[in-house]
Amino acid sequence: MVDLTARVGALTLKNPIMPASGTFSREMAEVFDLDALGALVTKTITAEIRGGNPTPRVCEVEGGMLNSIGIPSKGLGAFLASELPAYAGHRAPLVVSISAPSVEGFAALCEKVSQPGVAAIEANISCPNIEEDGKAFAMRPETTRRVLEALRGATDLPLWAKLTPNTGETVEVAQAAEAAGADGLVVANTMLSMSIDPRSRKPKLGNLMGGLSGPSFKPIALRMTYQCARSVEIPVIGCGGISTAEDVVEYLIAGASAVQVGTASFINPTAMPRLLDDLAAFMRTEGIASVAELVGSIRDDATAEAVRFMETAP
């Protein structure tokens, strides 16, 4: 029997698999038992009601997809009144993803969703900050620090920061989040991308550009997970392109304490329970007794710091 328990700071999860925000809702219970998962993560909630972006909202690319859904949200009121109570029947810890376009709005929302029944807050700081220049909070260390400090002051729950790959300052942003009081990092959100129909000459997404996810994005998010895990003390949750148990193991070895699975659930709705089976089978075959044995076990001892934290391909 292998031990799948995953420790993410103060939280102990029964296993390291949880959904990525935006690729999961309670409707998934019509496919499998959600309590099989290590945790549940809501779609990002905003304080206000949002309609989302024009269609088409997704398109496929080789080995992945682009999305520009635009965070449609029924707003905080609907979340507290109907969504949060509906999760009460599930044993898996609930992580609530939140976002706002300003520091103050972010903190106010964070305080209001810090309710009984919520195990952790995931701050989606990969969204545009309209008070500055519209660039995502997580693109720069200073804006990351400011928003995380405000969020830290707004909740006593475990606070995770979801980082963006659209930055050249991965390590500095990770360290800024840690210094501002984040309890964990989710690495990473999707990468800004584009696709054009060569015949109609139209962008394939209604919103022109969107975020890349899926297997083709995995090497980027894995690199960032490694760099973050190497540069902070707080736990890192890997996220990006995971579709097989070997992918999960790669992230754990790179230093992730747990992982999030997103796009794979669109391709195989049963991906997460199957990943759990396959992860246990992999560990049995390889003689690995526990997930903890894998976390951060990468054999990179001879590598210089300057190489570990490089921000451009050599």
């Binding site: 409707e27 859904i69 579709s243 097989t244």
Partner: protein, 279 residues
Amino acid sequence: MALLSPARLDPAPTRPIKEILATVLTHETVAEDYRLLELSAPAEALDCAPGQFFHILCPVDGESQPFLRRPMSIYGYDKARGRLSFLYKVTGEGTRALARLAPGAGLNVTGPLGRGFTIPEEARGLLAVARGVGLATLAPLAQEARRLGRELTAICSARSPEHLMSIEHFEALGARVIQVTDSAGTSAPEHLRGLIEAEIAEGRVDMLYTCGSNRLLKLCQEIGAKAGIPGEIALEQQMACGIGMCQCCVRPFRKPGGVEQLRVCREGPVFDIQEALEW
């Protein structure tokens, strides 16, 4: 790339949506670019309703690498015999890859998905109007109408007689079929209007069903509103998850409080015909 092990594809009896590995039984060309695919599938996955769909994982081969699943409306289902069939048009990378599947091959499908057609208790006469491959979406209505002892008339429209591939299927299911084609000059909206209104005048229509086409939507909305006959339309939209999670497949609908964005995969694909908006 390694794949997920298939162990969990044994359908869970208590969960309504199943991801299963079906087997191709037959796969025929029924007209240029049109294929009829018949699968053997576990009975547990076949609690289907007319108008529902499956999400198909088109195969990746040396020539095509479709990434996302393709939603496909059910053409026929038979729980007792473990049969599930789709009539589709080869249009892009996904369906081209699918079209190369030979009998005996496995095919991963997820479903049944979405909200299907309703047949009200009091509706004795049903009228289905569709064109081309849209007829496939309405075919299970004929099957259900027969089971419930209702009269279904299908107005089947196509470019030419050889594209009217569902007609025999409709007739075998006990439906009355009226054919119209571009080649015979009988498929123009005004001619269709005359046909539908004649059916209504004869008292054969308590419910209208259509799918897929803006022209037919507009026509059925006008006729239905004027005659006070309710109706439903099956709509399409590009999808990613097919289950209701990703919010990708929304379309606008006319609701009492204003225009609302609804998910085609979850609130649909079948909607009240008067609420649907032209696109």
